[in-house]
Amino acid sequence: MTTSWNEPSSVADDLERVGYLADARIAQVVYLADRLDKPILAEGPAGVGKTALALALAEATGRRLIRLQCYEGLDEAKALYEWDYHKQLLRLQTDEGATWDDLEGDIFSESFLLERPLLAAIRSPEPVVLLIDEVDRVEVETEALLLEILDAFQVTIPELGTISAVSKPIVVLTSNNTRELSEALKRRCLFLHVPYPSIERERAILAARVPELPEVLAEKVARTVATIRNVPTRKPPSVSESIDWARTLIALGLEDLDDEAIGSTLNVLLKYQADIDKVAKELSLDPADTL
């Protein structure tokens, strides 16, 4: 199935079908990315649904998802391609007596190439969704690896030449903004800032993800989380944590969010003791209720 989006609202509809609520801005940027064949660079705090966007795009379009998880020390051999060393060696050993010219052409051919995520995305006969996750984790120098792919959807292998994309993938890069990405990378992407959702949107997300949550409670969870995010904490609660929180409330059979209920479940939302203490104080919860 190829994309048949002819307006941003159909993007939003398709995403909603698979349970991802895109606001108008996200829908517009995804639509543009598809139209202009440009990668999306999604940046924002952890846990607001950047990775989920790529997953939802894959599901909504029925495409395969290829994921490259970035980490410090990621290199060409793990991101792009690698020559299958052992296979090459075996080939040389089985063919003693053959001329060098024959062998050289042979062992540097596609059958000796090990595909890594980026090359796989390029060579896939069906269009895919390529997710390059947490791109801010790689060193600045490694970013350069990505540029050729992002720019022209192609990979150059010295021994083979340039391999161009058979079908253009939808590319989503995510970044938690732990460091400034290079200008070269940013220039090639459409920039999508994904902030914490508004209260209305968070309520809708809660309703979609935790359907058994009563509407009144969803509203209150969304409002409380928004209030907590305004308290300067080390790690403000993310959307995934507010979903966890809603599930916790249901599991505990709590029907209303009163001081006691919040106090005893704050540790689902906040992951530092200093944050828990601070929020409890800010919301003037009874210390006896909090963990």
């Binding site: 060696l89 903004n177 220039r187």
Partner: protein, 456 residues
């Protein structure tokens, strides 16, 4: 340049009649940094906010007084209509009716802003006048009364109600700003308003005179910089195969191809864990900057384990414990203010005494792996400079950096003895904005040659 071409290409696929859509398109193609969004939004409102304005205009015709109306417009509203306005606002906000809200605000601007064409005042002045007539306290009170609480309401319900009311007030403010901007654009043209409304980018905000919102923005940007500084100070060797041959792994790897030693394996070069000592001037004139330094230090401390922080005015005390891992930054600042022992006599900076304290009490904090970062204006109140102690500190450390928030042209004027101190440090930098801090981080490399250690 590429951005502009992208934007143009993207506009083909954009519904231009929808401002939100247009904003999303331009934002995605032109802006590549979260920190620049607020400046972009302000500019967007100036250039493309007109659609909203003309909509409000049509509802507005019956109210008579236009922008250029008689001077009476300003005093035209009777107290009765002010109450009506308040009722209307509360009603619109509670129903979440944006169009109605916009219309009411537009009317309020006509009545109360007293705008005079061509008068060179900023939009804030008009917004302020309208807001004063609306009376934000009264609006909050009315909203609080309008939002119903559940029967068994607890603390948290009241808190949520308060937040909801504040959020609604913010909505009124935003709408008001938009309306005023639109009218100013009508009066003076977009270009001129854009110039007068231009927001400084976060990286150019002057830290010494920053507003609270600006400081909050700046603080958000500090963490990535702290990380960068930490890695820069730990990079001693170039990456690559500079380690020693690892015989065991080389032989082990060779087994895969029949014992032929094809690929030599190397040990990873050991990266030194840097130690950082921060000396921060906490005197009154440096208060804003000290907060910024502490924020940077706090961020560095979450990256590296060996960070020690010392604060001083005319005495020096260690303040590390207030900013360690697991602490809360704001609370740390408060504790530092009340508990740290940084004033000896009169509370005026005394760098000489402080360096002496540092050397005499905490010399062991500084080793050959330590980078020392000193922040302060080097205004010593004509006291003893204490360079002999600074010399020892510098000599014992790996590198010493001095960050001075004062503009460079004021250095060495009056009681500043920046050069005297500066010539002893590896890098001296004026850091007054985030951009300058970024510049410093780029420069802050460690000297290649280790200093001969001072024999004590």
């Amino acid at each position: 340049m590429v951005e502009v071409i992208d934007a143009a290409a993207a506009l083909e696929h954009t519904d231009l009649s929808d401002p939100a859509n247009l904003r999303a398109t331009l934002g995605a193609t032109l802006i590549k940094n979260v920190r620049h969004y607020s400046a972009f939004d302000a500019a967007f409102d100036v250039f493309f906010g007109l659609a909203a304005r003309s909509l409000a205009e049509s509802d507005d015709d019956d109210s008579g007084a236009g922008v250029g109306g008689s001077g009476v417009a300003g005093s035209g509203g009777m107290s009765g209509s002010g109450d009506d306005l308040l009722d209307g606002l509360v009603d619109a906000l509670m129903r979440g009716d944006r169009d109605h809200l916009r219309m009411l605000i537009s009317r309020a601007v006509t009545l109360y802003a007293g705008m005079q064409p061509g008068r060179p005042v900023g939009g804030r002045y008009y917004s302020y006048r309208v807001l004063k007539r609306i009376d934000s306290d009264a609006l909050i009170a009315r909203l609080l009364a309008a939002i119903t609480l559940p029967e068994s309401s607890s603390e948290i319900d009241q808190r949520l109600r308060q937040d909801q009311a504040n959020l609604m007030l913010q909505e009124v403010r935003d709408e008001l700003d938009r309306e005023v901007t639109a009218r100013l654009v009508d009066d003076r043209g977009a270009q001129q308003v854009a110039v007068s409304r231009r927001l400084p980018l976060v990286e150019d905000v002057d830290l010494m005179h920053a507003t609270r919102t600006e400081i909050a923005e700046v603080e958000k940007a500090i963490a990535p910089l702290a990380r960068k500084l930490s890695t820069r100070l730990s990079q001693r060797r170039k990456l690559g195969r500079s380690g020693r041959l690892d015989v065991r792994r080389t032989i082990r790897k060779s087994l895969g191809h029949g014992g032929v030693l094809l690929e030599p394996q190397f040990r990873k070069p050991r990266v030194s864990k840097p130690e950082i000592v921060v000396l921060c001037d906490l005197s009154g004139s440096m208060a804003t900057f000290a907060r910024f330094t502490m924020q940077l230090t706090y961020a560095i401390a979450s990256e590296l384990s060996k960070v020690r922080v010392f604060g001083f005015v005319d005495a020096l005390d260690e303040v590390t414990e207030y900013f360690g891992t697991g602490t809360d930054f704001a609370e740390g600042l408060i504790r530092m203010g009340s508990e740290a022992d940084v004033v000896r006599s009169d509370g005026h900076s005394d760098y000489g005494r402080s360096f002496q304290d540092m050397w005499e009490k905490y010399a062991d904090a500084i080793t050959a792996r330590t980078s020392v970062i000193i922040t302060g204006d080097a205004r010593n109140n004509y006291r003893n400079s204490g360079v002999e102690y600074l010399d020892r500190i510098v000599e014992r450390s790996r590198a010493t950096f001095w960050l001075n928030p004062e503009p460079e042209r004021y250095w060495d004027t009056g009681d500043s003895i920046m050069s005297l101190y500066g010539q002893r440090c590896d890098v001296v930098d004026q850091v007054r904005t985030l951009r300058q801090l970024e510049g410093f981080v780029e420069k802050a490399t460690l000297p290649v040659v280790r200093r001969p250690r001072l024999v004590v």
